[in-house]
């Protein structure tokens, strides 16, 4: 069975094909679109296979991974040895945590390709790099071997570095180098913690799960090991990797993920990268790259180091809350629309940490759903910033006025996207933010800290404030005569916006299918804690 491998093969084949055959703009973009659509279809099949059995004749039934230590809720697992002496393998898998993100990856890449339909500067390289990006991000979400995971994690940086550095704005070199070095530092620290796990406990865990005392990079060994219990029903994982080992490793991982997420105060690469990046780059950066950090927190932080997470939940909560409040405050002062959206992403990623810190299924599910909904919403927002830069020649909020008159369609999309980001009921992020708060309120037990649970709620007010202020300045009022006549949305933009807004509304009105899938994963976390 190599169903999941298709998710890697298709975009990589597309990357190679575009490089080889995409000499002109029209050929490059059509090839890229074809491969990306195919990949989206495959990922869609994967997503739907979590909701029903329609595709079983095609890909076989979705069965839990039958490990020697019992079945584990991980699906479509592929295992092939890679470098056996070092314990490295090629392991792919998908579950309720990765399925929505795996679907989001080709979807946003496809829409980014449609949105950049007329990119005539080096089109071959541009579209090829987008597909390389799709390949490497998909790899992060489905690989279950630490080494493979790290390879994909690092590979992501390369296309993004070039996307910013070649097609970026005036200050692109500073931004791209800053992006590369900053996130690379995070990755290196993550690599050290991977080695620490490898040396401290991988053989004990491997022994318990697979009955082999070799050291291993196999992530499934750690994930399954964390669920094992002895005859008295006690978890054996703390004896394999003691708490005192877990804590420093957790902190190091958390730093790596926190830079990627990003969380305050490790976020300053993000606004610069976004402001300089081309629209397609921003869409993928905010829609997918940031999700890698959140994915890591849930997969590795909670799934493999549960005892440390249970002790250090307050660390996640503090960083999450600070990100939410601080980034929202900084948003109030932004003049550049794109910078504002970039900072709002930092704030919204704070919800993810807050949800993870609750350690209860509903909060974790909210945090994971936030990854998905924020991916959809922020993609629209960055596309909107791209459209206005293209149409009006500026993204400066004070210069943009009265767009309601000049660009009514644009304004309508802007209002819906802003309200979705505020978390209005009926739109996607209401549920994710609401369930993060439900979990957060439920997960905080001790009395002296009780009043503090209200603090993160403040960010809801500030978020509404900066968005409504921006709407007031940008959409309302009389048009700015200096900008002249502005063109409303073109056909490619309309396609991208319609798909994304449609999904945002769907995910807001019918969260159940997504939650069912996510709960399948989120419900397992409390069992790791005792």
């Amino acid at each position: 069975m190599f169903f999941l491998s298709l998710l890697l093969i298709v975009p990589f084949a597309g990357f190679v094909t575009v490089l080889a055959a995409g000499g002109s703009l029209s050929r490059a973009r059509w090839i890229a679109l074809a491969f990306s659509l195919l990949d989206t279809a495959i990922a869609g099949v994967l997503l739907l296979s979590f909701l029903g059995t329609w595709f079983d004749p095609l890909i076989g039934p979705r069965t839990a991974y039958p490990s020697p230590a019992g079945s584990f809720p991980l699906y479509y697992v592929e295992r092939y040895p890679w470098i056996p002496p070092l314990g490295m393998s090629y392991i792919l898998g998908a579950d309720g945590l990765s399925a929505p993100l795996v679907f989001l990856t080709p979807l946003l890449t496809t829409l980014a390709i449609v949105f950049s339909w007329n990119k005539d500067v080096r089109p071959r390289q541009f579209f090829a790099l987008l597909l390389l990006m799709e390949f490497s991000i998909s790899g992060v979400f489905i690989s279950f071997d630490f080494f493979l995971f790290f390879v994909f994690w690092e590979l992501v940086l390369i296309p993004m570095f070039f996307l910013i550095g070649i097609w970026g704005g005036p200050n692109r070199q500073y931004a791209s180098i800053k992006f590369l070095i900053y996130t690379h530092v995070g990755s290196v620290i993550m690599l050290l913690s991977i080695f620490a796990l490898y040396w401290n406990g991988s053989s004990a865990v491997n022994q318990a799960v697979y009955g082999s005392s070799e050291r291993t990079f196999d992530m499934t060994a750690f994930l399954i090991g964390a669920t094992l219990r002895d005859s008295l029903g006690r978890l054996i994982y703390p004896s394999l990797i003691p708490l005192a080992t877990q804590v420093p490793i957790f902190i190091a991982f958390f730093f790596g993920f926190g830079v990627k997420l990003p969380m305050v105060p490790f976020h300053t690469w993000l606004p610069d990268a976004h402001v300089e990046a081309p629209t397609a780059g921003s869409v993928i950066l905010a829609g997918l790259l940031l999700k890698m950090g959140g994915y890591g927190v849930f997969r590795i932080g909670l799934g493999m180091l549960p005892a440390a997470a249970a002790n250090l939940w307050w660390l996640l909560a503090v960083f999450g809350t600070v990100s939410m409040l601080y980034a929202s405050f900084v948003c109030l002062a932004q003049v550049d629309l794109k910078r504002l959206i970039a900072y709002s992403s930092v704030g919204h990623m704070g919800f993810v940490l807050l949800g993870a810190s609750s350690l209860v299924p509903i909060g974790i599910a909210g945090g994971i759903y936030q990854l998905f909904t924020h991916g959809l919403i922020t993609a629209v927002l960055f596309m909107l910033a791209g459209t206005i830069k293209h149409s009006a020649g500026t993204r400066d909020i004070p210069l943009l006025q009265g767009l309601g008159r000049e660009m009514p369609q644009y304004s309508a999309v802007l209002i819906v996207a802003f309200l979705a980001s505020v978390g209005l009921p009926g739109l996607a992020s209401f549920w994710s933010e609401f369930f993060v708060f439900v979990g957060w309120f439920q997960g905080l037990p001790t009395e002296p800290w009780r009043p503090l649970i209200l603090v993160p709620l403040l960010s809801l007010g500030i978020t509404a404030a900066y968005y409504v202020w921006t709407l007031h300045k940008v959409v309302m009022g009389e048009p700015n005569p200096k900008l002249g006549h502005l063109h409303d949305l073109n056909e490619h933009e309309k396609v991208s916006y319609t798909v994304l807004i449609g999904l945002i509304v769907f995910a807001g009105l019918f969260p159940l299918p997504f939650f069912g899938m996510i709960f399948d994963y989120a419900g397992t976390i409390p069992r790791l804690l005792g």
């Binding site: 420093p248 002062a333 209005l424 009926g426 439900v438 403040l458 509404a464 404030a465 409504v468 959409v475």
Partner: protein, 626 residues
């Protein structure tokens, strides 16, 4: 669209006959525990039809139908009509969803949808700077309340593991000890925080007068008759916390009654009533007068609910005491009457504005001749607002004041609130007739030749004036409003005929006196007016100033954060990288080109990494020793 309104209305009317509450299961968002029926902790849309929600459904759909008809004439010349009707329709859906919710989460969801429609409709003329600012202000000020409401809902989930009213009532007797004294007060207060924002009570009242920048039909529908009532509705629903009852025995749980929260609700009501009433004295804008009056009248309803809850709880905790829901019924009675007469007043004002193209009463006057119908219907509305017998406002206002006075025997603070209520009656009569006289009496001071509005508008006004008289008489037809709208079981409702009749005798002088003074003319108006202008100054400069200052204050704070972000945090990042570059420049001198040197460095480097790795591996174990 009109057909849809009719349908909703008929459905609503069919439902009002339902003797007890029924829950219509609807769409499930998040399934709950499947082993229980209904599934415990399920989240979805259900329709709760009890006497309160059925009544609200009829009221809301009927009023929105009338106002939609009125809009045909009023919005005739405007562009963007599809947008207008679409937003109105979404609003009506939001309001109906709010009042038929069987759980707090659904209530919150539709509540926010209403807020969105209010934002969009206030900013209907978005190119006007005042309208744009007003829309922004309305959204943000009510958002403060919404966040408090959300916090309340989250705490409710945390304690009861359900959002449904029914389940909360059933679980409260067992769970209240786990709430502790803090949460007992906090939950109703947070819910009331949402109500304060939505119903524009002090200190979150500043958005409502500004919201008058929207079309007058919107002011009539959203900012007078329906949406602002949602706060009262929510507080009525939170009676399950204000007067916690053991369902089986009907006993009030004395220790779980949030006395302080009830006092705050009633106190905010009493203070806002007199505060907003005095504000209305000074305004020249006909719509702002009505907006302040709306705030003041809503405050009466909160006063009625607060006093009613206090009375009910104190009587219920006495052995053998009977539960009286007079305050609850009186507040909702006033809600009904106010919905009709304030919609009438706003639409009449809209008719006037349609004719003279200004809101400024100084440019009106003498319109009785050219606009006879509008003048008459607005007089009816004014008489009802002023509380003149037999118009509807009289009965319900007297009910509220009577309950407040009665509660004074339980806690003397309510006597003070009663005094505030009486003073507000005086001011209400005064500003209402000041408004009517300035508009229709005397000589015309504006430009052009105003004409009566088209038939489609005046016929709506006529229908509403019939209801303005008629809604007050419901009480007599049904042997007291309390038998129609009550809290808990029907037997708990007392016939309200007695308090009404008694109240008339006690207070008719106090109600009639300010009316007589108001009618007496402009002479006294100027005298009171000089003082009122100071209140207006206070509102514009101090209260509104504080609101604006908070707004402005947060921007520099944001800028400060931005500077901090750029200089300190990013500065630290950059300086780390500069230091790295500098040290690497220094290291460049070590690039000797001699392989032996490099080998040494490589060996040292590997050693360092090994040491680091070993330390990272061992450190935990070292640290781990207790």
């Amino acid at each position: 669209m009109l057909a849809v309104y009719f349908l909703i209305q008929v459905l609503g009317q069919g439902a009002i006959g339902a003797p007890t509450s029924t829950t219509v299961p609807g769409f499930t968002w998040i399934p709950g525990n499947p082993t229980t029926t209904p599934p415990e902790g399920a989240i979805g849309i259900n329709l709760l039809i009890d006497n309160l929600s059925a009544f609200m459904l009829v009221l809301v759909s009927f009023l929105s139908l009338l106002i939609a008809i009125f809009s045909i004439g009023y919005m005739h010349e405007e562009e963007g009509k599809p947008r207008y009707y679409a937003e109105i329709a979404l609003f009506v859906a939001g309001m109906l969803g709010t009042v038929s919710a069987d759980n707090f989460l659904q209530l919150l969801i539709f509540w926010e949808i209403m807020g969105l429609c209010s934002y969009l409709l206030i900013g209907f003329w978005y190119h006007k700077p005042e309208a744009a600012s007003a829309a922004k202000k309305a959204f943000l000020v009510t958002r403060v309340g919404d966040v408090l409401f959300l916090a309340g809902v989250l705490i409710i989930w945390n304690v009861f593991h359900t959002f449904r009213f029914e389940e909360i009532v059933a679980r409260l007797p067992a769970l209240w000890p786990s709430m502790g004294p803090g949460l007992i007060q906090l939950i109703p207060l947070l819910l009331f925080g949402g109500a304060v924002g939505k119903s524009a009570q002090f200190p979150l009242h500043a958005w409502l007068p500004d919201a008058m920048e929207g079309p007058t039909t919107v002011s009539a529908l959203i900012h007078a008759a329906t949406m602002v009532k949602a706060g009262v509705y929510l507080t009525a629903r939170s009676f399950i916390f204000l007067v916690p009852i053991v369902p089986a025995t009907g006993e009030v749980i004395a220790a779980a009654v949030p006395w302080k929260a009830i006092l705050i609700i009633a106190g905010v009501g009493a203070f806002t009533a007199i505060f907003a009433g005095s504000m209305a004295l000074a305004s020249y804008d006909i719509k702002r007068v009505l907006a302040f009056s709306t705030i003041s009248q809503l405050a009466y309803m909160f006063l009625g609910l607060g006093a009613g809850a206090y009375l009910m709880a104190s009587e219920g905790t006495r052995p053998g005491g009977e539960l009286t829901t007079a305050g609850y019924s009186a507040a909702l009675y006033h809600l009904t009457n106010h919905a009709f007469f304030k919609a009438l007043l706003f639409l009449s004002a809209g008719s006037v504005i349609h004719a003279v193209h200004t809101n400024d009463m100084r440019a009106m006057g003498g319109l009785r001749k050219p606009m006879p119908w509008t003048s008459r219907t607005m007089l009816m509305g004014a008489l009802a607002l002023a509380g003149i017998i037999p118009f509807s406002g009289f009965f319900s206002k007297d009910d509220i004041l009577a309950v407040t006075f009665e509660t004074g025997a339980e806690n003397p603070l309510f006597y003070l609130m009663w005094l505030a209520g009486i003073a507000t009656v005086f001011m209400t009569a005064f500003y209402t007739f000041r408004m009517w006289l300035m508009t229709f009496h005397g000589t015309y001071r504006g430009e052009g030749h105003p004409h009566e509005s088209p038939r489609v508008m005046t016929s709506v006004l006529a229908v509403l004036s019939v209801f303005t008289i008629g809604s007050g008489l419901i009480a007599f037809l049904t042997n007291g409003f309390g038998n129609l709208i009550f809290y808990g079981e029907p037997h708990a409702a007392l016939p309200l005929i007695a308090p009404i009749v008694a109240g008339n005798i006690v207070e008719i002088g106090l109600t009639g006196l300010p009316l007589a003074l108001g009618l007496a003319g402009v002479g006294l108006a100027w005298a009171v007016y000089a003082r009122a202008r100071a209140v207006d100054w206070f509102d514009r400069n101090v209260v509104d100033g504080i609101v604006n200052a908070i707004g402005r204050g947060t921007v520099p704070l944001g800028s400060l954060s931005d500077v901090f972000d750029r200089k300190v945090i990013d500065g630290a990042v950059n300086s780390i990288s500069f230091e790295t570059v500098r040290s690497s420049l220094a290291l460049r001198t070590r690039q000797t080109g001699q392989v032996q040197n490099y080998t040494w460095v490589i060996v040292l480097g590997i050693a360092a990494i090994l040491v680091f790795a070993v330390v990272l591996g061992l450190l935990p174990r070292v640290l781990g020793r207790p």
